[in-house]
Subunit: 160 residues, 3 copies
């Protein structure tokens, strides 16, 4: 089924310059309880500002109810992602994290934490020729699972 294809240009391979490590915080302000936000351009801007040509970006949520994933930024599909999350982990189920006998959290957000564990708190994207390596239909998406809130993400670039 497979064939290796070194399709990227030769100057994308190798290179002996010193690798840099850059870490910043990206703040987003969310406006709904459950909502998705397209971070692709924000991440691309940070990358461009530091002029890293070859390397990777590690983007991490600093919150337990804010998750990250890569998929298509299309209104109908975004609706489906939210419907799927509520279906796979329902806010209406009896979760212990929501029970005052067992938890001092009064946000009724157990499902938000659980949905976040399925999506993941961080993602990595390669960088080559100064650009994020994403397919035509791929976007970097943050899933606010218990907003609205101010949310911080760590964005780290390792490269040269």
């Amino acid at each position: 089924m497979t064939a290796t294809k070194p399709a990227l240009p030769a100057d994308a391979a190798g290179g002996l310059e010193t690798v840099r490590v850059i870490t910043e915080t990206l703040r987003i302000v969310t406006d709904k309880r459950l909502e998705l936000y397209n971070l692709t351009e924000k991440v691309a801007e940070v990358l461009k500002r530091h002029d890293i040509k070859e390397g990777m970006v590690l983007l991490s949520s600093l919150h337990t109810t804010l998750a990250l994933f890569v998929n298509e930024w299309q209104a109908a599909l975004l609706h489906d992602v939210k419907a799927m999350l509520e279906k796979v982990v329902s806010p209406r189920d009896d979760w212990r994290h929501n029970d005052p006998d067992h938890s001092d959290c009064d946000r009724h957000n157990a499902h938000s934490h659980l949905q976040a564990t399925l999506l993941g708190h961080a993602l990595s994207v390669s960088v080559t020729k100064g650009k994020l390596v994403l397919g035509q239909f791929q976007a970097i998406i943050a899933a606010e699972l218990d907003g609205p809130r101010n949310r911080d993400l760590a964005i780290q670039i390792i490269g040269r």
Copy 2:
């Protein structure tokens, strides 16, 4: 429950050689609507060709309906992974991405996108002594969720 065990040989630690960044494309040709493909050997071959001894591989799908994960390559289990995906996110549910009133996508593939968000678009594997750091039963597996198609993955090696 835990004890730190620096079990890997001493020469796997430290090292001051310059780190390289290599990015290539790996093409796979899939042959079914829903199928799994073992990429472990393909990734190992790219690693071997570049002679990186210590570092990591970041493998990324460039598509929104092709996902990646690490687990066991066993026929019965692969059957179960596919069954589980169709159970957790059913192709038969009413997804808006499949509705011509809301979407110009006519592939009826909402579930493929949604399954991909749960599995993840990328994975990282450490490299030490020139080998992928994988357990005895671990394989790098691509999940084609809306094939058959030609699929490209970015494979990036950061190391020395």
Copy 3:
């Protein structure tokens, strides 16, 4: 919704020192069939021992039924994570991996593998100023999905 905020101190950005790659094994001994373990301090200790200030940690399970995720370490929520896993992928469903006609695995652990594919086998955490970049409520958690067993994780630090 977004505003870029370079909130981390200036000395966290840039830096031209040589990047090191360190790989070790972390052993944990689990004591239940399904249980969660907080690895945050163990990972922080390895990081501290190597005195890496800027970079990332890649933590990987070397097993197909031990997964990793980042979320809150709270007893009620940990109970819910386990309940959610058993609900999304039930041990009581008919999985082929558990069927002696199709599989030589007699651990009846298909659901453990499947739950692991949803959580993920590895995670990356940024490092800045010598610390793991985690939010106030975030912990690095290992999910034992088919214990009790001795389990090895690869911990790799790339940084300077």
